[in-house]
Symmetry: C3
Subunit: 266 residues, 3 copies
């Protein structure tokens, strides 16, 4: 039972996670990282991102409100992270929604070696150029999500996490499917962005990206389930706050008790 | 009884609301839009705002922490929105507080056709150049707010919403006065900014701007009253969270039960 | 008993606090200032910061996510504040973490007269160039914090607040040590940044910086203790919200009852 232990390792090591993220989710991301037991830092200026990425234990790039300056900073930070062996997580928020987003992701991926790509099915498909196989974003079935993840991982030669009703981890030809989580996550902004940063914290302490990503998804999903359980009479405001509470409260035993993972080796 | 039905229409259509807003309120705005049933997107880069505004169902421009780049992006987005018949809501936060804000609003309004201008009495008066009739911001009486709204709508040839102790909608010579809402809204940052974005969602689904704006104000005001009722022993932190809960919970029946609107046709 | 009265003065005067702060804490800072009884404004554009800083009652500069543009705006705003006798609070977030941060702080302090420098021990030591006396950030003992504060105040010729397990105020050779506050503050992002802005509000209404800073620390610390008391079974999400509630609820009597201050005159 390796999955539940990664959280304990994370809390012992308190990884420093450097985020270059969007302006919508900064506060929630920092608080979520603190709650799970990591140490967040946000730094954007091209004059300092290389220094920060070098000392950090993970770098998270999120294009949710990208600008030309931010993309430049992401590339500088990403190259420094590559040199320092700092893992780099890329969250291609809204890839496909505008040409600029898709192109910026491609530019970043050309210049920076990515440790994990994390998005929803449409975003990942757009990045990998397998849009043709989708019949509109909404018509992507869960079965297809696994296919998209595996194919994107193969085409891009990068580990992939696709989140949705079920969450998929695809690394080389290995696949895990995580059934934890709750639909209320879609009613709170930034829950996907926070997840990407938390996956950064897990990968910072566990170099097996397949295990680290699966463990991160399970931990986050179980915390979300507990948070919904406590706030189901209330609503998304209370859920957001309770998710932070549960990210601090969750323990190895909770993960063992509630985890729902299928692992399929290719 | 048309007013309560606009919310139901909004939830059926899930309008995409593109916000170019200030850095203080992004998270709260996105969460409020999700809670009411809309789909928020934030995009700022001049390279992508035209694409986003074209596919969006409403565009909300908010100058709360404006910069030269943001103003440029607002104008590009606004022009694209005009071409695509996407309604444009302008929130002139702090107009009159600095010359730069007032001038930027004038520049935006010169280049972009605005569907609704939403601000407090001082901001709207400053934009319309009717400052002379005010004896300082605090001395503006509620009676005056109606006059300011009507006169600003006439001078600027644009529908106007002024919020305050009572909320005023002025479209051409029609006027409605909404008595819902709660003073605790003034103790939480961004409640006015969120309202502007929510009015964008209402206008996205109901092209009668007078009806849509009145319905949006009533819905938001009733949600705020319910939120205060539940958190009056606690304080502004709890009120902010409960407002998000109530924006999701509110239904047609609640609006029918609690709405307090005077409509005056000129 | 002068300390508890400063809060009452603050609420009577409702000081306007102009913040040029980082993108992580804007919402929390604005809500915290509203809760305590101040009026927050965020303005960043170099075209308007001088106007805003001139009318404000305090200016707070926070380098948490600094960029070249922000530093330029901070210097423009700071110079205008100096001309208008608006007090200027500087929060050197992460000074020492990257060379760019340390250099930017030095540039700001060369151009702008600072009324109060507020940071943790490592940040203040780095700004003052007394890093050599520290054995790594974590090894700084509380005893050393008082020494660092006094020495930094002397070297930089500026009043200094260092926060940590105990909070230190050093003005000229006067020292006060505040034992209020709670460790949960370290689990919520931006609690230090909000404190800097609240100290700005206290200094805006009380020109004795030693008294104002001590009163601000005590008030904030007591509110944090009450917030923890109410949410200790829950976690950091609930604590953050309750801190806002308690900042509004706290009264002179609470401060008298719970304050724990040592004052040591040099």
């Amino acid at each position: 039972m390796l999955i539940p232990k990664v959280l304990t390792k994370l809390r012992a090591q308190v990884p420093l996670v450097h985020n270059i993220t969007n302006v919508v989710v900064t506060n929630f991301t920092a608080n979520g990282l603190l709650a799970i037991g990591a140490s967040p830092v946000m730094a954007y200026a091209k004059e300092e991102v290389a220094d920060m990425a070098t000392v950090a234990n993970a770098l998270v790039l999120n294009i949710g409100t990208l600008t030309a300056e931010n993309v430049e900073s992401m590339i500088i930070a990403g190259k420094a992270a590559n040199l320092a062996n700092t893992p780099v997580i890329l969250d291609p928020v809204g890839a496909g929604a505008t040409r600029y987003r898709t192109e910026s992701v491609h530019r970043i991926m050309k210049e920076v070696e990515i440790t994990l790509l994390r998005g929803n099915a449409a975003e990942v498909a757009n990045v990998a150029g397998i849009k043709a196989k989708m019949r509109g974003v909404d018509s992507v079935s869960e079965h297809n999500n696994s296919e998209i993840a595996l194919e994107a991982a193969k085409l891009l030669q990068v580990p992939v996490v696709i989140t949705g009703e079920k969450d998929i981890v695809a690394v080389n030809e290995k696949l895990s499917i995580v059934h934890n989580g709750h639909q209320m996550l879609t009613k709170v902004t930034g829950t996907g962005c926070l997840l990407s940063s938390i996956l950064g914290a897990f990968i910072a302490v566990e170099e097996d990206v397949f295990l680290a990503s699966t463990a991160g998804l399970v931990t986050y999903g179980v915390a979300a389930e507990r948070a919904f359980e406590k706030t189901k009479e209330e609503g998304p405001g209370s859920f957001q706050i309770e998710l932070l509470n549960q990210l601090m409260k969750i323990k190895e035993e909770d993960i063992k008790k509630w985890m729902k993972v299928e692992s399929i080796r290719g």
